[in-house]
Symmetry: C2
Subunit: 336 residues, 2 copies
DNA sequence: TTGAAAGCGTTACCAT
DNA sequence: ATGGTAACGCTTTCAA
């Protein structure tokens, strides 16, 4: 194993100079820095993680807690984990997974043992037990998602309410007077926070704009295509010609299939907006206007906040909402 | 922060006694041990991770590398990640995620910095670049899956060939003379190793038993239900009445739907065996005999091997195949 | 711009 | 059965 001593010797300097040359925390002359960097490369030196943690006060590791409930949508979840890991690596941090059923125990453990510099919380529930823990541990914690009691927490998320407003506005502007919201699974409106935030955004703005609203959940399983089709057909029979879809890809596909069968042209006879989808909507059989939920955005912001909490002292807790963006591809039909 | 010194003082012993009481590496009298444990509990002591890494030679962290290719099936992948994390925690290890596109860089980094005690490799490709790295780093590495060149590696996996044999034998024993293998996506037969191992097992045994075999892939997308249905209907038209399904849940559902529409009763008119499925087949609309791929089995074995490599010195590299198990629920129909 | 040396909190060896 | 203490390899203060 190569140590800092060997690097120092090879470069003909002291170990403190090596340390400073690598951390950049003190100016080092050009020529010595180059000599040190060469030695590092030649010897294949990598600082010992344990020594670094002990001597410095940084572990360069973030914990990522994920409860992994049964109703978790795996592809979406993976996208968030991946985005977090990538963002963290870019800032020089590794991700330690905390998947315990009692993620609480893990949070306390990694905080007490100084194993991580910060904790990132995924898959946040309305009454999330991790909120209380975040308040007691002194390890900076950032939530990707928003629990009901946000007191003293740092949270990051898409502004789902604004996304709801945006979707309704577009449809109302186009002249629609009735809208169907094809929503998430029933359970997710209880176990998660974001579905109802979008729902409220849609409901409130629908009232403001004076448009009728039908809200339909996907039943127990998001992949239960039959239920989705039935809901879509009922909406069509009802005369609804405007859809906001807040659901997984299968639900989008099912709706578009029903519309196609009924001979209804999207962007012509009916309007469809995909709200807060984290998958690639451009691969849908028909182009659909989208207000995307971009995991990279949330996760990069979360990592950035965590890093800032470590480097600056004056970072206040608070909710950071990401403004929604409307991507139009012509799936909203103007109605006379 | 509570240190071992404070615990020692509170318990009225030396720090070495505290250390030994907690590690169990030296006998400690009943009464002192209890006093120490009390002090630990009262003070909320947790050993400092950095100090532990530096002084001991163990970090109590395993790295888990996962390339996360585009064709990765998210739910299956998550099941393996979760199973690994749980198994590791049970043995006192945390999981550090390595999701870099170049997982290679990550492996070298964590190995060189002594950040982890062992590396677990997920989602193994036939020509996996991580195999070469595993041979060069001195950090013990265990593959969950099997690359083409296994020289000097430690690998764990279900015995897919044996699973193929088992499935064919059951159908041949029941009197079937033609079998359709409803397989994975086309790309997975190139990018992964296990689909072709099952395929070979099925092919070889089919030849031995003198039964005809039709092999059908799922096309590009496993969720392309239409293609699956077409394949199933072609097989039925062909006269095939025996199916081995090696695919995700949607494919199972599609096949069963087609059989139902044709009025063919599973276990009566047709035989269906699900091979190497990692999801819960008992929730399928019709009971299906299953040769399950249990992530917990593979992952626990992998963690166990990693731990053994750390604790014992005499663990040899090699392939560890888990024998398949046949779970019969009567979906194989005897044919006169 | 550079060096020397004092910790950091454990583990594990050497005593007793 | 227990205690004292030397590492472990780095960061950072203090000096020059």
């Amino acid at each position: 194993m190569t140590t800092i001593h060997e690097v120092a010797e090879a470069a003909g300097v002291s170990i403190s100079t090596v340390s400073y040359a690598l951390s950049g925390k003190r100016p080092v002359s050009e020529k010595t820095r180059v000599r040190i960097e060469d030695a590092v490369r030649v010897l294949g030196y990598e600082p010992d993680a344990g020594a670094r943690m002990l001597a410095g006060r940084r572990t360069h590791i973030f914990a990522l807690t994920e409860p992994l409930r049964a109703d978790t949508h795996a592809p979406t979840h993976m996208a968030f984990v991946l985005a977090t890991a990538v963002a963290a690596r870019q800032r020089g941090y590794d991700i330690l997974l905390l998947t315990d059923e009692q993620a609480s125990e893990g949070m306390n453990r990694v905080a007490a043992s100084n194993l991580v510099d910060a904790i990132l919380v995924l898959d946040v529930a309305p009454d999330d037990a991790r909120a209380a823990i975040a308040r007691t541990v002194r390890t900076p914690t950032v939530f990707i998602g928003i629990p009901d009691d946000q007191e003293g927490l740092t949270c990051v998320d898409l502004d789902f309410e604004a996304a709801g407003h945006l979707a309704v506005d577009r449809l109302a502007d186009a002249g629609h007077t009735r809208i169907t919201l094809l929503g998430q699974t029933e359970v997710s409106y209880r176990k998660s926070n974001f579905p109802r935030r979008l729902l409220h955004g849609v409901q409130d703005r629908a009232v403001e704009r004076g448009v009728g609203l039908d809200w339909v959940t996907t039943g127990t399983s998001a992949t239960d295509t039959a239920a989705v089709r039935a809901a879509a057909e009922a909406a069509i029979a009802r005369g609804d010609r405007a859809f906001i879809v807040h659901a997984v890809d299968d639900v989008h596909a099912a709706l578009l299939a029903v519309l196609d069968e009924r001979g209804l042209l999207v962007g012509e006879d009916v309007s469809v907006i995909s709200a807060a989808a984290s998958f690639d909507t451009t691969t849908l059989p028909v182009p659909v206007d989208t207000i995307p939920l971009v995991p990279q955005q949330s996760c990069e912001l979360a990592v950035d906040l965590a890093v800032r909490r470590l480097e600056e002292a004056d970072v206040r807790p608070g909710i950071h909402l990401i403004p929604p963006e409307y991507r139009s591809v012509g799936s909203v039909a103007p109605r006379g």
